[in-house]
Symmetry: C2
Subunit: 436 residues, 2 copies
């Protein structure tokens, strides 16, 4: 029993903590004080808390919010603008021309739409790479969504900042602006080894290390990238990044589809983190990342949706099901990537990949309260033999009914409290009309 | 203008007909008289109909209901009972022991739960293989869901009918009972070449032909099956079925994961239909069916969820996304299995695979009214550049808001009108407790 007062008590559910011991508490509850998890336990153990407000999970699943480890949120504007095309035709004939019509306001509107979709699907934190990232940060802040954002850096002039020196200045301004923000963290984000010269990559790495920030980069996404870098440097992208001193434990390497055994050893040696994006890699026919092999090596992997133009949704539940099934069929081994491992990738390991597992990714006292509730009173979530299996193989984003981020209730009973959905969808619809 | 009266007018949506011309009608409508589609067209063209009842699609997508070409509905009881296991351990240690506790009543309850899940996810017709199929037929009838059902036939005694002669008698009784049923059609369903002797298969084929019925069988699902049949007969399962005279245009071959070029030629030659079950094949690590190759040959393919124990959901939207993406990544060609082709597999070609494309699978005057409405006023369905892309790559089963089957509204505004969801889910939960 405990008679101290808390702000919020979430009660009457199966609590999946995603802590080191894989604790699952039946008839459990979580007590939240301000933005912090105060306690977890059986509902009757926590009933002594004087809670300013109580949310009844109605027998559902209470779990950490999902982490979307790699996306380009504002690309929600381009959802379905072009599909089923070869990568280069898709990029050059559709995506790049559409992106040339972007403005900071449109990036904000697209990001806000993506935030609405992500909150509704149980995502409480995302890692973003795009243009005009200050406006993505603003959208996430307005939505009440935790985010790690970084301006994309590359060799050619950007529609946002012009030449690359200005890109670094923009990044440094972001770092300063969001230094003590409760929701937003800045990352340094050079695009890739094929769009960034060694000097750019080294400088980006230095800035990230100096400021103790995440460094995000696309790595070995396509065969084409692999052969380009081999031709240019005689090395694989991973080997090249080691060669110039960029591999480190603060590096988040997105995609990692085409890896040699030596690449895998290097990623392991430097404790590099990986963002796995199965649906995008499948839809663009990039290939299948060797995730079971990477997991076997103990490499930390988060799950990302990538942008909406190559997916075409921001649903980490869908992505989890895909990741598990793709891992099994690609190895012809049904025992790999079991439900528990995949759920880890989408929660605590996603947070670890973003360098923020000290504050989110699991339900543990002292962490920030990033928590979602799954309504299981539905035919497709009946029966529940095992909550982990139910979450990975049967649940959909639309089963998330309530979401708390940083202690704030941002969705309750399916109602988004921070975003005007009607206004936001209408705005993006009108932007889309101008895109074609 | 038209002044005749109809029973139901579905109006104010983008109508995706799935007819031969791939017609899409913006601001369209569908008029329904009794169980039949009376007319399709622009909403203002159809506004002259005196409709007893009008349903406003609110700008959403009006489309044919989805066809689940292969499932074992009652296995919803076993959703998540055991996952991430080798196939034989999964079957022998979990599924078979659980199935030994089945009764006709439990088969009914499980099937009714599956029907609830399927209607909610936009399925208006499913093809089932299981035990006590009379009770699956009853569940489908009670749910108002169209179904093709058949009792599984194999060499060893069945918990339902005992020895195989009784199995054939049971099937013949089903055929007679449902001869003129508005929703239920019977199929003859020998399990597979590895569980059925040649005599059983030949007799099943004869009965199906004599009664002009669909013949359903699992074919080349696993490598293990392939080697067993090669060892037993010196032929692949497809070659063996040809050898004993079972290949024909009324045969629905489920799975077809492991096919030789000669198998594909034979399937094409005899106009055999295929049910593709990507998620089950992935989750059980059975392998990847060569669907792009089969489509190139013009072979008719439907999409199925398989049973809930190996998926673990009955969501054809999820299955479409998976099928398209798996086809692309397995061939490293992003242009194969485009959204339109995949949507065809889930609608008109699914109906064709079940031998019922004369009555369902598309929205065309004269066909039975099996129609669903997708609510697109949601962040994850915004914007809509292309309705086909939106349906295959972004929509979820939960976006279906209204369903009409055989002219009857079975779900409206998300409310299931034919099934008591609370009672049905509670019943299956209590059955599940007895399973472990």
């Amino acid at each position: 029993m405990n008679d101290s007062s808390v702000d919020l008590l979430i009660s009457n559910g199966t609590v999946v903590l995603m802590d080191c011991e894989n604790t699952i508490i039946e008839n459990g509850a979580v007590a939240i004080k301000e933005d912090i998890i105060a306690a977890t336990g059986k509902a009757d153990e926590l009933s002594g808390y004087k809670a300013a407000r109580t949310i009844d999970a109605n027998g559902g699943i209470i779990m950490p919010g999902l982490v979307n480890a790699h996306t380009h949120a504002s690309m929600s504007i381009f959802r379905g603008i072009a599909d089923d095309l070869p990568l280069m035709a898709w990029l050059n004939e559709h995506i790049f021309p559409a992106e040339s019509k972007l403005t900071p306001e449109r990036v904000y509107d697209g990001a806000l739409l993506a935030c609405a979709e992500m909150i509704q699907a149980g995502i409480t934190c995302f890692c973003d790479m795009y243009l005009f990232e200050d406006f993505v940060a603003k959208a996430a802040s307005d939505a009440g969504l935790r985010a790690v954002v970084g301006e994309v850096l590359y060799d050619f002039p950007s529609p946002n900042y012009g030449p690359i020196e200005k890109g670094f200045e923009y990044t440094e301004r972001l770092i300063e602006k969001y230094l003590n923000d409760p929701l937003i963290k800045i990352a340094v984000e050079p695009h890739s080894t094929y769009l960034c010269a060694p000097e750019l990559l080294k400088k980006a790495s230095l800035i990230s290390k100096k400021n103790n920030l995440l460094l995000v980069i696309h790595v070995s996404e396509t065969k084409n990238e692999l052969s380009q870098i081999k031709e240019r440097y005689g090395l694989t992208p991973v080997e090249f990044l080691e060669d110039i001193g960029v591999l480190s434990s603060n590096l988040l390497a997105c995609h990692c589809v085409h890896l040699t055994d030596n690449d895998i050893s290097l990623l392991k040696k430097y404790d590099v983190k990986i963002a796995h994006n199965p649906e995008s890699n499948m839809k663009l026919a990039s290939g299948i990342a060797p995730v079971p092999k990477l997991l076997e090596q103990g490499i930390c992997i988060g799950i990302g949706t990538d942008g909406c133009a190559s997916n075409n949704n921001l649903d980490i539940f869908h992505e989890m099901s895909m990741a598990a099934k793709l891992g099994k069929v690609s190895t012809l081994d049904p025992t790999v990537m079991d439900a528990g491992s995949v759920l880890k990738m989408a929660t605590i390991d996603g947070a670890r990949a973003l360098g923020i597992s000290d504050i989110t990714g699991s339900i543990e006292a002292g962490k920030k309260a990033d928590i979602i509730i799954i309504d299981i009173r539905k035919p497709h979530l009946t029966p529940m033999f095992n909550p982990l299996s139910l979450l990975v193989y049967a649940a959909r984003g639309s089963d998330v009914i309530t979401s708390v981020i940083n202690g704030r209730v941002v969705m309750e009973n399916g109602n988004l409290l921070t975003i005007n959905v009607k206004k936001t969808t209408e705005k993006v619809r009108s932007i889309a009309l101008d895109m074609i």
